[in-house]
Amino acid sequence: MVQPDVLSQPFELGFTYTRSTGPVVGRFLTGLRQRRIFGVRASDGRVIVPPAEYDPHTAAALDDFVEVGQEGEIVSWCWVAQPRAAHPMQRPFAWAMIRLDGADIPMIHCIAAASPDELATGARVRAVWADEPRGFITDIRCFELVGKAGASPAPATGEDAGELEPVDRIETPIYLHYHFTAGSAPARFLTRIKQGVLTGQRCPRCANVYIPPRGSCPACGVPTQEEVVLPDKATVQSFTVVAIPIPNNPIKPPFVVANLVLDGANISFIHLMSECENADVHIGQRVQAVWKPADEWTYAMDNIRYFKPIDEPDVPVDKIGKLPITGLEG
């Protein structure tokens, strides 16, 4: 068995959601845009900041808004000596639970400070505003210790809440970064296809051959180990003619996407067909891989550009996916 390379590459996953705020969160964010901080009074009279939509104890809808102070005291904190790339500050900083004046429930935000020695539970902090608040939690850029250098723009513009459209939705794009590692079986497959060889795996129980392999027989639920080198001839099991342009796809429609079963394999994979009249493509049709030049081969299924029809008799439907490695003649 070929020892596979460990194939790993970074990728970014983006969730580019726009969220509707509803009236309670929207009121808070509208306030931030005016450099004002609003909480809401809970059923027991306590003021929750940022405002909760429902009372955590009684589940009552809350709408008794209260403006709170821009200063408060630290309830708890931690010191981030090595900020992470996603963090709002890239120099050492603190996260803190901060109880603002007039609030009962602490909120979580970051504190800019030169060192953890400056911080203490009970210390007074004040909000530092972004230059151009837009109705987002980061309009409060951070908090800073009262009495330490203050460069914060003047708070509370005094604008009437009615002067601006209330915030009713926010864009919250999230990008997470990962290292994707191909599994052992896929890595073996990709290592071989880089050499122009198609390698499947055979189930030890039902003898089905899977390509590309994932390391298991999904039908039997057992691991697959035995490798089978397969030819690059296949049969059309099913197909579709794509007539609409797909965003970011360089291939111009109409083009054919087909489920193909390699000779000696029992399960189809999806690939392109070309060098054919789209109208002539049919189930049972015999095809063969058209490879890229060998010096362009990499760890990818698209080392095969597409499959093209070959001059062999059609495979009867009940034989598709059941041909031996030797193909039709076998």
């Binding site: 969220r19 992470r84 639970m97 999230i174 590692t181 890595a187 639920g221 057992v222």
Partner: protein
């Protein structure tokens, strides 16, 4: 009501990085192990399957569906999934059995958390308006919780380090442990802070891997003729997502779940507690009402290796293992989910 038994359990080694293994390759050895313990072929031989995992951890949409490739789902099986630790998959499986819809179930959990930056990925489970956009990571939230405890005199740096020393020592007997050693309080307390007041050793080492379990009715366990432990109680409770509204120095939800599960209705010989941070083990031991007669985390707990989405199930599995081996007669398992112990499950296991 049908009494339910655990009949098989297996977990993988806790690896900081599982290398090339994909979901199926992580799960498969554990499934094969539990099938072998009972003498089953595959998931066709149980009535229900439920898994726990979280696609965000490896950033692969529908990774849990790929996991089904490990089951042998031809012909189709009854299958379900929770986007949580597999301890909650166990809970679902037990409901299925108690409702009479199944006599046996396979439960498994898995994760490849090393693919992403776990504390940052977990920040995205927080309030999407007020917290997620700040990227408040899970370690920092736990650190603020620890400071509340420290400053109220409920724990000390010393008592936190003691948790770690004991966990790593206990893990010397755990073949799957990632961290296992004799270590001194002095050495731990000399560590630089990670996110103060937490040191690196206060945080469980995150591991890739999987765990699997088979549960069934007691009648079925007898029919199969394998050693088993009865689950005599299970309950889970969740607290508000608003961290400021919670008393972070206590775990009210654990106490409630323990009472509802009947944890205190007998001697707790062993408690396996899912505490990803050292101070949380102290909170949880108190909430569970444990005394000197209880051995806490004899496996080393998750301080020996934290299999995301499987560690909760593994706590149940560890108690099962000791009961099935005749080592103890009664134990409690705990699982947690969410920031600062937001959501907690307690199960009580007893000998046949």
């Amino acid at each position: 009501m049908k009494e339910i038994a655990v009949v098989a359990f297996s977990q993988s080694d806790c690896l900081a990085q599982a290398g090339a293994a994909n979901e199926v390759e992580l799960i498969m050895p554990q499934l094969q192990a539990v099938f072998a313990q009972v003498g089953l072929n595959n998931a066709q031989d149980v009535d229900f399957v439920c898994s726990g995992s979280c696609d965000y951890l490896q950033g692969a949409a529908f990774a849990f569906v790929s996991g089904v490739d490990a089951l042998g789902a031809v012909p189709p099986i009854k299958e379900s999934h929770v986007e949580m630790d597999a301890a909650w998959a166990l809970y679902e499986a037990m409901l299925k059995i108690r409702m009479g819809h199944a006599e046996s179930a396979l439960v498994y959990g898995f994760a490849k958390a090393s693919s992403g930056e776990l504390p940052i990925v977990l920040s995205q489970q927080l309030d999407p308006y007020y917290l997620a956009p700040l990227w408040v990571d899970s370690v920092s939230l736990a650190a603020m919780q620890a400071r509340l405890l420290l400053e109220q005199g409920l724990v000390t740096q010393h008592s936190m380090a003691e948790v770690v020393v004991r966990a790593r020592r206990n893990a010397l007997d755990n073949p799957h442990a990632q961290l296992h050693s004799e270590t001194s309080l002095e050495a731990l307390l000399a560590e630089e802070y990670f996110v103060s007041p937490l040191r690196p050793s206060d945080c469980a080492p995150v591991a890739d891997g999987a765990a699997a379990m088979i549960v069934c009715t007691v009648e079925k366990a007898r029919q199969w003729g394998v050693p088993y432990a009865r689950i005599t109680g299970i309950d889970h409770r969740i607290e508000t997502h608003n961290l400021g509204m919670r008393n972070l120095t206590d775990s009210v939800s654990t106490r409630q779940a323990a009472e509802a599960a009947g944890a205190l209705g007998g001697v707790v010989e062993v408690a396996e507690i899912y505490a990803p941070f050292s101070h949380q083990e102290i909170i949880l031991s108190r909430a569970l009402g444990l005394g000197d007669e209880t051995r806490v985390n004899p496996s080393g707990g998750v301080m020996a290796g934290n299999l995301m989405m499987a560690s909760g199930l593994s706590r149940v599995g560890e108690v099962f293992r000791r009961i099935a081996a005749g080592e103890i007669g009664r134990g409690v398992a705990h699982a947690t989910s969410g920031p600062c112990l937001q959501h907690n499950l307690v199960a009580v296991l007893e000998s046949a």
